[in-house]
Each structure stands twice: as structure tokens, then as C-alpha cells.
């Protein structure tokens, strides 16, 4: 079963997403900030990354930039999410290799699983 890396600085949300995706059968690794996430990525090489854009210290966009500078071709699918509909941020994320954007507040557990499933199926 695919491995999903959840990068979210709000612990309660991160835990909730972990429960949701574990129940759906995915292997989960989690990080609570961008810096930690870079180490986890190298160690665990997930198939899909759920990435929160607004994080303190290392933001979602900075994480993506660093990832791109280290890896010529990113195999992992990337779903970015946030609670801010900042179009500039979203556009930048897609430029940096994001495959999908969702607004956290509008995605129920079932919807989240659906999106993860769909994104894993798409070609990079």
C-alpha cells in the first residue's frame, strides 16, 4: 500500500489526518514542520506528500523549493493544502510541482481519501 507523508504543523489536524489515512490503509509518516519534513522525506521516500503551505520556520513553498533543488525528478505526488485561499501561493505551489490543491476546511475525511486516491493514480 502506498506511503503518505503528512506535513502539518497543527498537531491535532496532523493526528486526525493520520487516523483517516491509516484507516484507509495507507502507510503513514508524519512531520510537524518543513525542516523535519525534509529529513523524513529523504529517509522514507513517500509516494504522496500532503503538504500544509502555511507553516512557521520552513514554509510549504520553501520545502518544495528545497526538495526541487535536491531532486531533479520528484517521484512523489504532492497535494498541497491550506486554510488561506492565497491565489499567489497556490500558483507558486503548482509551479514548484504540486499536483493538487485543497482547502483544508472543505475536505471531510472521505473527501480527503478520495483526493489522495485520485492523485496517486495520476501521472506526474
Amino acid at each position: 500500500m502506498a506511503k503518505v507523508l503528512i506535513i502539518e504543523d497543527e498537531k491535532h489536524l496532523n493526528d486526525a489526518y493520520q487516523i483517516v489515512l491509516k484507516k484507509a490503509g495507507y502507510t503513514i509518516v508524519a512531520a510537524y514542520d518543513g525542516k523535519e519534513a525534509l529529513d523524513v522525506y529523504e529517509k522514507d521516500r513517500p509516494d504522496l506528500i500532503l503538504l500544509d503551505l502555511r507553516m512557521p520556520n520552513v514554509s510549504g513553498l520553501t520545502f518544495l523549493k528545497t526538495l526541487n533543488s535536491r531532486h531533479k525528478k520528484l517521484k512523489a505526488k504532492i497535494v498541497v493544502f491550506s486554510n488561506y485561499d492565497d491565489q499567489k501561493e497556490i500558483d507558486e505551489a503548482f509551479k514548484l510541482g504540486a499536483d493538487r490543491y485543497i482547502l483544508k476546511a472543505w475536505s471531510s475525511p472521505t473527501e480527503l481519501i478520495k483526493i489522495v486516491k485520485e492523485t496517486l493514480k495520476t501521472k506526474k
Partner: protein
């Protein structure tokens, strides 16, 4: 005898007029254009600018021009020349005798700046009909200018404050989404069967909690939309849109809402397609908002009539009308209808969840498109909302 009587009358008249001219709190000056000399300057020049009349009459117009504020002198001289040229070349009576006004700063004898308002008129013309003498009447408007500056400062402060209030609301709204999202996830886990089977009561209570949390999230969405509008951050994405199709989609997307209340929507467009340049996402939101209101404020089984047509008078444009057989809006509630956070109380309002921002949002969006919203309603007689889009949006 008669001659001396006439002469003495003349002298009295002249003295009277001279006295009046010297007491008037406005500077009166007459100058000769070819020579640049002052024919006459009244005593008010002393009260207003601290100079003696002889300071002006001895030194002439060039000296006075040197007293003008460096930031104002160019446009004053330019405007003056323009007026003179017009007075010399115009054919109509009005064109030949314009009253030109100027507002500028001039140096007081003691060195400070005084704001003056000057009206200039043609006083005399030479044999060729060209303007030879100009009369200027000037009053001190320094106090008025200072008051205007203070007012402008207060306005700027108020606008900045209003902006910072909107930014605060935007930040708070975004932050409110975080705990509400967590609630959504955990309630969702329970309701969507990811934990363990629920009893009826458990499911019902959890569902109520979930729905109310969704309500919170909708209110936050509304707040964010409105702060975007108020901060003028709302950018419309104009696209060629089929308005008939858009309205049809809006009605369809609210299908469940109408079904629940056994309400029927009758849509009669005047043609199969009406192409307009609008922001389709925002206009759809407006149409859906008004349709939802029509449903919410009508009882079960009532009908809603939707029409769209090209307006065939001088004004032109498109009119979308949404009419319901609902509870209507009473006279006393009309003034608050489009205001932020106003929820009108009527027999159905308790069962409607809303932030009170919907109609405010609709009004702003339509106005941003250059159109307007109209309402016709009376208590107990239903309501008709009409969205009017301007002619320019129908142009190819």
C-alpha cells in the same frame, strides 16, 4: 453752479466708492497688461498680505508674481495666459468675458504663506479689442485650506483604520478555520464509520454537531468574501459567459434545497443563449444566494419564477428577475436589507441559518460589474429581486 454741483456729486460718489473699496475685506487690484503696472490696489492688501498699496503700485505685477509660491507659480501663470488668450480670441459674449479663479499661495510681508482665492475679470479693452486691463478680487482662504487639510488627514486615518479592521477580520477568520477543520475531521471520522458503529442517538447528535460546524465554516467563508470586497481586493475575472446556462446551472445546483421544501422553479429565459462578459463564479454565487433566499423565505410547495431578458429601452443591458411567493419584506426592514450582518426577522427567519452577509455581498458584486440590484416586496406578498447588468457587458 450746476457744473460744480455735478462735480461735487461726482466727488462724493467717488469718495463713497473709494471708502467702500478700502473697507471691503477683499483685495481689489487693477493692472495694465502692456506695462505690467497697477492702476489701483485697495487698502485690504495691508490687512491680508501686510504690504502697503504703494508697494504694489510702485513695483508692478512682476514683483507680485515673484511673491507667488514656487509650487503654484507655473500653473497660475499658465492659467492666466490661457484665460487671456481665450478672452482675446473668443467670439461669444460669454467666451470674451470669462471669470477665472485661482487658488494659490503668496508670501506675506513677514515671510509666511497665505492662501488666496482670486477671481479675475476683464476690466478694459484697447482700440483693437484686446484685453488691456484686468481686475482681480482676492480673499484669504488660509483657514479654509487648513481645515481641508485636517479633514483629509482624518479621512486618511479613518480609511487606514477601516482597512486594518478588515485585515484583522481576515486574519481572525483564517485562524478560525483551523480549529473548525479539526472538529470537522474528528466528527467526520465518527460519522463516516472510521471508528465504530454508532447508535441512533449518537449519530443524530454527532450529525447536528457536524452541521453546525459546517455553518461556522460558511460564516467564516462569508466574512472572508466580504473583507476581500471591502479591502477592494476582490478582482473580477471577466469571461464570455452564457447567462442562461449559468442561471440554469445555479438552479440545478440548488436542486436538493428546492426538493426538500417541494418548491418548483420555473425558468423562462427570453432566448436560448445570452452572452455577457462577467465574472461567472461571482455572478453564479449572487444568483444562488438570491435563489436560496427565495427558497428559505417561502413556505413548502411554493413556486419561484426566474426570468432573464435583454432590456429593450435606452438603458439596455440584461435583467435577471427572481420572484418568489414567500413571506415578503416589510417596509420597516427595507433599509437594512443590504447592510452587513443584518438578518431580517420574519416567520421563517428562525429556521434559516445565515451570516447576514449574503445580500451585502450580492450588492457589491453587481455594483462592481457596473450594474444594480432592485427589490420589490411587501410583507406577505413575496419578493422580486432583479439583477441589472449594464449594456457594456453585452458588447462583443
Amino acid at each position: 453752479m450746476e457744473k460744480s454741483l455735478e462735480a461735487s456729486e461726482l466727488i462724493k460718489k467717488r469718495t463713497l466708492i473709494g471708502d467702500i473699496a478700502d473697507v471691503v475685506p477683499a483685495m481689489i487690484a487693477i493692472y495694465d497688461i502692456p506695462s505690467g503696472k497697477y492702476l489701483y490696489v485697495n487698502k485690504a492688501v495691508n490687512k491680508i498680505l501686510g504690504y502697503r498699496p504703494s508697494d504694489f503700485t510702485d513695483k508692478g505685477v512682476a514683483y507680485v508674481s515673484s511673491l507667488l509660491h514656487p509650487d503654484d507659480v507655473q500653473q497660475i501663470l499658465a492659467k492666466n495666459q490661457e484665460a487671456l488668450d481665450k478672452a482675446n480670441t473668443a467670439v461669444s459674449q460669454v467666451g470674451r468675458n470669462p471669470v477665472v479663479n485661482f487658488e494659490y499661495r503668496i508670501k506675506h510681508k513677514r515671510g509666511t504663506w497665505v492662501w488666496l482665492h482670486t477671481d479675475g475679470i476683464v476690466y478694459k479693452r484697447d482700440k483693437e479689442g484686446k484685453v488691456s486691463h484686468v481686475l482681480n478680487v482676492s480673499i484669504d482662504i488660509t483657514q479654509r485650506k487648513e481645515a481641508e487639510d485636517r479633514l483629509r488627514d482624518v479621512m486618511d486615518e479613518l480609511l487606514a483604520f477601516s482597512d486594518s479592521k478588515d485585515e484583522f477580520v481576515a486574519i481572525a477568520s483564517h485562524q478560525l478555520r483551523t480549529p473548525a477543520t479539526a472538529v470537522k475531521q474528528y466528527l467526520g471520522l465518527l460519522l463516516e464509520g472510521y471508528v465504530e458503529p454508532l447508535t441512533n442517538d449518537q449519530e443524530n447528535f454527532l450529525r447536528l454537531a457536524y452541521e453546525n460546524n459546517e455553518r461556522q465554516l460558511h460564516i467564516v467563508d462569508d466574512l472572508l468574501k466580504v473583507t476581500q470586497l471591502d479591502l477592494d481586493k476582490m478582482k473580477l475575472n471577466y469571461k464570455k459567459t452564457d447567462l442562461v446556462g449559468l442561471i440554469g446551472e445555479s438552479i440545478e445546483s440548488l436542486g436538493n434545497v428546492f426538493k426538500k421544501k417541494r418548491q418548483v422553479v420555473e425558468f423562462k429565459p427570453s432566448s436560448k443563449q445570452i452572452i455577457v462578459r462577467v465574472d461567472p463564479i461571482q455572478i453564479k454565487a449572487v444568483v444562488e444566494n438570491i435563489l436560496e433566499n427565495a427558497s428559505n423565505y417561502s413556505h413548502l410547495g411554493k413556486k419561484i419564477y426566474v426570468k432573464v431578458k435583454k432590456v429593450r429601452n435606452e438603458e439596455g443591458g440584461i435583467c435577471v428577475s427572481i420572484k418568489d411567493e414567500g413571506v415578503g419584506i416589510s417596509d420597516k426592514d427595507f433599509p437594512r436589507l443590504f447592510k452587513k450582518f443584518s438578518r431580517i426577522r420574519n416567520e421563517l427567519s428562525d429556521s434559516v441559518s445565515g451570516s447576514g452577509l449574503g445580500l451585502y455581498f450580492c450588492l457589491k458584486i453587481i455594483e462592481l460589474h457596473g450594474g444594480y440590484l432592485r427589490v420589490r416586496s411587501a410583507a406577505g406578498e413575496g419578493s422580486e429581486f432583479s439583477i441589472n447588468l449594464p449594456k457594456k457587458l453585452t458588447a462583443k
